[in-house]
Symmetry: C3
Subunit: 348 residues, 3 copies
């Protein structure tokens, strides 16, 4: 099997507050990593396999800013260099494990998977709402037992909201309204837009915004392959539009962010966050949006886990039938395949 | 692995009353199917994979006589034609899933696996006792985690009754009495007959018939590959034989029917039914025969599940030693191999 | 995958008292075996697969000194010869299962895996303490879900005691003290010696010997590939050495014995025994040593089970970094690879 992973890329490894004093294991793009914060607070990621006999360092213990392997005591500093081996004074020159570039930004810890010298922090896509005091965010991460491409497909075609998420965010208009898709091949960004002028207000928004009647509902997707998916969601009473100057005081804005991080070829870390610009201090709205969005994500997880089994069982290949709603998803597949085949060369 | 399935054949998919209003999933010969009854009562079987992204239709919902895919809402009528897709008016010409010919007969729902235009209902073998008011039937279906060939082997050699089913249907005479085997190669039917003139009466028959002493016991097997296995069982007090005109008032007749339906290469639907021409209204006899026969089937299931693991572990091949009792089973293997290699061409 | 098993060798199949009247199944080097004691007390091992349809004989029943297959009644005597088949008088000439040479020695039942005519009992390595009244032994067997080579690695490098078994047998000196390794290539024996002149006394020995202060601690390993591992352990108050004539009244001696018996390519029977020459009748010491050593073995089992998964996942190969402490383990790998490639030819 040829790897479907796109290398030389930044991926969300964790939320910043998942990484602390304890050793923390997570696999990204098939690479097992161990994370911890050094005593000065810096987040560190090392390859999670001792260079001696492959024992997972995450099942070891810290001694100050070093990790002492739980099997034979090989000891590594935060750069991955070995500083102690048992039974001899001389430390072999090659005794080191890989360390991984990390950047903390927008509440995420991003890890660079690929050639270390290509790791340019300026390439990390932004999701500024998640760390912006003008927004309140609820969030989570659900393990998905399916290849990441199925989640990309899922998120780029929201017509499934009507069928899979009927009680939460789906209404008939989502499936019925045509979409416009734009692909910026140079920057590698995909935009899918669905603007409903006069739609039913799904429970997800009725409860949180207090709008009673029908709504104008915009779903503007912006996917920055491979990892970051943004859904700019605008809800307003039917007919209320932004001002000509771009201000938009009559609407509610929700920024839905997914970080799609492959774990193995057949499993994915499904990070999700919902940031809103209204009811900022309202704990009840936060609780409702958290629980509702998590329920929606778990409906997707359940469906995609089924689909992974279906596809894995059809080893000999299978056919699909694509229609207009799939335009964004097909563009994403094309871009991801191109990126997997030829990774980014030089940072600017 | 080359498929061992015999195609262009009728298989028992279900008992008629298993299929109702709700969507019902069952895989036959590796083909995932979804069943339901249309509003007019007709049983319907469609391929259980949406043409769009392969989502199982069985995990969807009905809307009248259509199935609405639970993922993106592709909607199919009872012929498998797609009648709605989301986000556009035009329905692609190729948007359809396969529908499968079904026939309800002898309490079973038979499904045709193979080329649709070869599906001739006259080819379905009969088990008329199961729907005949002159008989009372108990029955069940047990999932078997073993290839169907192991069940064929098992049923064509009843000498195992003595060892595996000692407390129920086995007595020493079953293992000791020689068998006669006849193979009708043209019709593809195998007959194995074991006639015990003077045998102990096993608990299974002593309890249900009330016979106290020794018995004349006939076991006449008729196997119509691939799916239908009949055991015509005749029990009478020792020495009591049928009249010259074929009438047989002094005996008890039990028709044991198995439908052997491959699910995957390594699992099988093991349908079993026991029809009797005595004590027709006696609920206690029905309960006893149901529980006893189910216990016997579960003993076979346990043994064959073990055997499947043994065989699967011996990937490099293994040897067997066949003796006289295996004549019927070996003939069945030969006929099944021939049928798998060259399926039936044209119906008469 | 090429087998890593070394054939034409004796392996520990069981403790003598594990084998009794009941049929007992255990797989050795991938060969499924059934064991029992004949009525005269002799231990018997046969291939655990009926020659007819491969049913496991261990799931059958005994009839005197024969095994009656639980499926169709093929019956075998203690030599593996078939003495009954169902439905006919003639027993086919080839109806027999393999029988395996067994020797009971040093509390173990040893089985010969390989060509029967090469089975020379004089080749069995000895662990006489286990059946010597001058010693008291505690022992056990833990199933290991890892290839046997990982256990060989583990036992030949005891520096891991400091890290994996800190609370029981590890102290800093074990990891710090250099080892001497000697390989007798002709006899195929590996000796690894670590002699600590002045070391902390780990709880394992402090509790059982009553020594209060620091100790002289010798760990002299003797590994006789593939199966038998001996650790001659000497503990004495610091500075106390054996007399010039070899007597050693001031020391405590513990003989730690492991029998490393491959079950499958990825699982192992991990037999362990601890024989001591002190506190012979002291049940509290026996209980303490049993529980402590079992805890140590289970720490190894847990670590090696993790390592097996790590290695199995790295199908494409992986790198290790070996240092001085690995000298014995690397020698063992080399000898085992040689033995696996060309088994012993003729017994002397």
């Amino acid at each position: 099997m040829i790897s479907s992973f796109v290398r030389d890329q930044w991926y969300v490894a964790a939320y910043a507050d998942e990484i602390g004093t304890d050793l923390f294991a997570r696999t990204v793009c098939g690479e097992p990593l161990v994370f911890f914060r050094a005593e000065d607070g810096t987040a560190v990621a090392l390859a999670d396999r001792c260079v001696h006999r492959r024992f997972p360092l995450s099942q070891s213990r810290r001694d100050g800013d070093t990790i002492v392997c739980g099997y034979h005591g090989f000891t590594y500093d935060t750069s991955g260099s070995c500083v102690f081996v048992p039974g001899q004074k001389r430390i072999p020159r090659t005794a080191r494990v890989a360390s991984y570039p990390l950047v903390e930004q927008d509440s995420f810890v991003w890890v660079w998977i690929g050639s270390r010298d290509l790791a340019d922090p300026d390439l990390i896509p932004r999701a500024p709402w998640l760390a912006d005091p003008a927004y309140t965010t609820v969030r989570g991460m659900e393990p998905l037992a399916a290849r990441y491409g199925l989640l990309v497909d899922n998120l780029l075609d929201l017509s499934h909201e009507t069928y899979l998420h009927g009680g939460y965010i789906g209404t008939p208009e989502v499936a019925e309204t045509p979409i416009t898709t734009e692909v910026d091949d140079e920057k590698g960004v995909i935009y899918v837009s669905r603007r409903m002028a006069d739609a039913a207000c799904p429970p997800f928004y009725a409860e949180s915004t207090g709008i009673k009647g029908r709504i104008t509902r915009w779903q503007d997707i912006e996917y920055r392959p491979p990892c970051l998916y943004l859904l700019h969601s605008r809800i307003a009473p039917a007919g209320v539009l932004p001002n000509d100057d771009g201000t938009d005081p009559g609407a509610f804005h929700v920024e839905v962010v997914y970080a799609i991080t492959p774990e193995t070829e057949n499993s994915t870390h499904d990070f999700w966050a919902v940031a809103r610009d209204f009811a900022l201090e309202d704990a009840k709205v936060s609780g409702f949006l958290h629980d509702s969005n998590r329920a929606v994500v778990l409906q997707d997880v359940a469906a995609l886990n089924v689909l992974e089994k279906v596809i894995a069982a059809e080893a000999g290949g299978y056919q699909e039938l694509s229609i207009n709603i799939d335009t964004g998803g097909l563009a994403a597949r094309r871009i991801l395949a191109r990126m997997a085949a030829s990774p980014v060369k030089e940072p600017a």
